[in-house]
C-alpha cells in the first residue's frame, strides 16, 4: 500500500493520511494547514445532482435477463414452496413499483394528476407504468365477469419471462410474480390496496401469456360505490 502511494503526485499524498485507516499511524509527517489548503477535493456527485428526466437509452435485454436470472435464483433459496417463492419475487417487485410510480408521474409532471378512481388507475398502469418499465403498453385490461372486485391485466409476452423456462415439477411457478409485485405497489401507493397475482395462461400463439389478477380490497370497492 505504501509503495503504491509513493507514486502519487505530492499534492494528493497530503490527503492520503485522512483517507487511510487509523491503524496506520506512521504516515502523517508534514501535515500543515497550508499544505491542506492547496488540495482541492472533487465535489461528490450525489443523487440530487442527477436529472430525473434524462432517460437512459434502451437497456440491454441480455443484461436485464442476466440480472433477473440471479434474482430468481436468489429467491429460490430458503423457500419451502413455489408459493413462498412467488411471494418473495413479488416483494422484490414491490420495491421497484413504489419508485416507478412516483418517477413515472414526475416525468409527466405537466399532465400530472392523481388517480382517484379504480378504472383510471388501472388504465394508468396498463399504459403509463407498463410503457415506462417495459417499453410497451400491456395487451389488454379486462374486468372479471363474475367477481365485482377483480380485474385482469393481460400481457401476451412479458419481458421478465422471455428467457425463463420453468421446469416441469415447478409448473405452478410464474416468475412474472415480480411484475405483479410492481402492480401491487402502484395500487397500494395510490391508496387502492389490492392483491395482485400472476397466472400463466399459455395459448398456441403466445406461450408466455400471463394474466395479472388484481383483487381489490373491500375498502376500495366500498369507496368506489360511495363515490359513484
Amino acid at each position: 500500500m505504501l509503495q503504491n502511494r509513493s507514486s502519487y503526485p505530492s499534492q494528493q499524498s497530503a490527503v492520503a493520511p485522512s483517507l487511510a485507516s487509523s491503524s496506520e499511524k506512521s504516515i502523517p509527517t508534514s501535515l500543515t494547514p497550508s499544505s491542506l489548503r492547496t488540495v482541492t477535493t472533487p465535489r461528490k456527485v450525489t443523487i440530487y445532482d442527477r436529472n430525473l428526466n434524462r432517460r437512459a437509452p434502451e437497456l440491454s435485454l441480455a443484461a436485464f435477463a442476466f440480472l433477473f436470472n440471479e434474482v430468481v435464483q436468489y429467491s429460490q433459496k430458503n423457500v419451502k414452496g413455489i408459493q413462498e417463492m412467488e411471494i418473495k419475487l413479488s416483494e422484490y417487485g414491490y420495491h421497484v413499483g413504489q419508485r416507478v410510480l412516483e418517477l413515472t408521474v414526475v416525468r409527466e409532471i405537466k399532465s400530472a394528476k392523481r388517480e382517484t378512481r379504480v378504472l383510471g388507475l388501472l388504465q394508468f398502469i396498463n399504459t403509463g407504468i407498463w410503457k415506462s418499465v417495459f417499453g410497451k403498453p400491456a395487451d389488454a385490461l379486462e374486468k372479471s365477469k363474475d367477481q365485482e372486485d377483480e380485474y385482469m391485466i393481460i400481457d401476451n409476452d412479458p419481458i421478465v419471462n422471455k428467457y425463463i423456462s420453468v421446469p416441469r415439477e415447478m409448473s405452478q411457478l410464474n416468475c412474472a410474480a415480480f411484475q405483479a409485485g410492481i402492480v401491487e405497489a402502484v395500487m397500494d401507493g395510490c391508496q387502492f390496496p389490492a392483491r395482485v397475482t400472476a397466472h400463466s395462461v399459455p395459448t398456441d400463439l403466445f406461450p408466455l401469456k400471463t394474466v395479472f389478477l388484481v383483487k381489490l380490497d373491500p375498502v376500495v370497492v366500498e369507496r368506489e360505490r360511495y363515490m359513484r
Binding site: 450525489t46 440530487y48 430525473l52 412516483e102 418517477l103 408521474v105 392523481r114 395510490c190
Partner: protein, 141 residues
C-alpha cells in the same frame, strides 16, 4: 415572513420538517415565529391533515392550494401520486409560487426515493436534501 414545511408519509408519519424565513424584502432566511407560534406550528400543520384526507378523493389535482387557516396563517398542501403530503404554513397567499416550490420539492423527494437505501415513509435525514430544500426556499419564497 416565516414558513413551516412538513412532509408527511403515507401512514401520517413525519418524514421531514423545516422552519425557514423569506429572503425577499430584506429577510435573512431565518424564521421569525414567536415562541408560542414556534411550538404551535407542527400542531396546526398536522391538524390540517384531516382536511387533506377529505379533499383527496374529490379532486385529482396534486396541488390542493390553501386548505386551512389559523388566524393569520395559511396552510397549503400538495399531494404526490404515492400519497406523500407536503404541507406548508405561510402568511400570504401566493398559489403560483408555492406550486412551483412544491413541484421542485417533489422532484427532490423523488430523487431521494430513487436511492436504494431509502424506502417510503422513512424520515429523510440527508444533509444534501436539507440544503437543497433551503435553496428552493430561497429561490421561490
Amino acid at each position: 415572513m416565516s414558513f413551516y414545511l412538513a412532509i408527511v408519509g403515507t401512514k401520517d408519519n413525519a418524514v421531514y420538517d423545516l422552519e425557514f424565513g423569506t429572503y425577499r424584502q430584506g429577510g435573512d432566511g431565518r424564521p421569525k415565529f414567536s415562541a408560542d407560534m414556534k411550538q404551535l406550528c407542527p400542531f396546526i400543520v398536522h391538524s390540517s391533515l384531516d382536511i387533506v384526507e377529505e379533499m383527496q378523493w374529490n379532486t385529482n389535482v396534486m396541488h390542493l392550494k390553501v386548505i386551512d387557516k389559523f388566524y393569520n396563517y395559511l396552510i397549503s398542501s400538495y399531494m404526490t401520486a404515492g400519497n406523500i403530503k407536503f404541507l406548508l404554513l405561510h402568511e400570504t397567499r401566493a398559489d403560483d409560487v408555492i406550486r412551483q416550490f412544491f413541484v421542485d420539492l417533489y422532484d427532490l423527494y423523488v430523487k431521494t426515493l430513487m436511492s436504494p437505501f431509502y424506502s417510503v415513509d422513512q424520515p429523510i435525514t440527508s444533509a444534501v436534501f436539507d440544503q437543497r430544500v433551503k435553496m428552493l426556499a430561497k429561490k421561490y419564497l
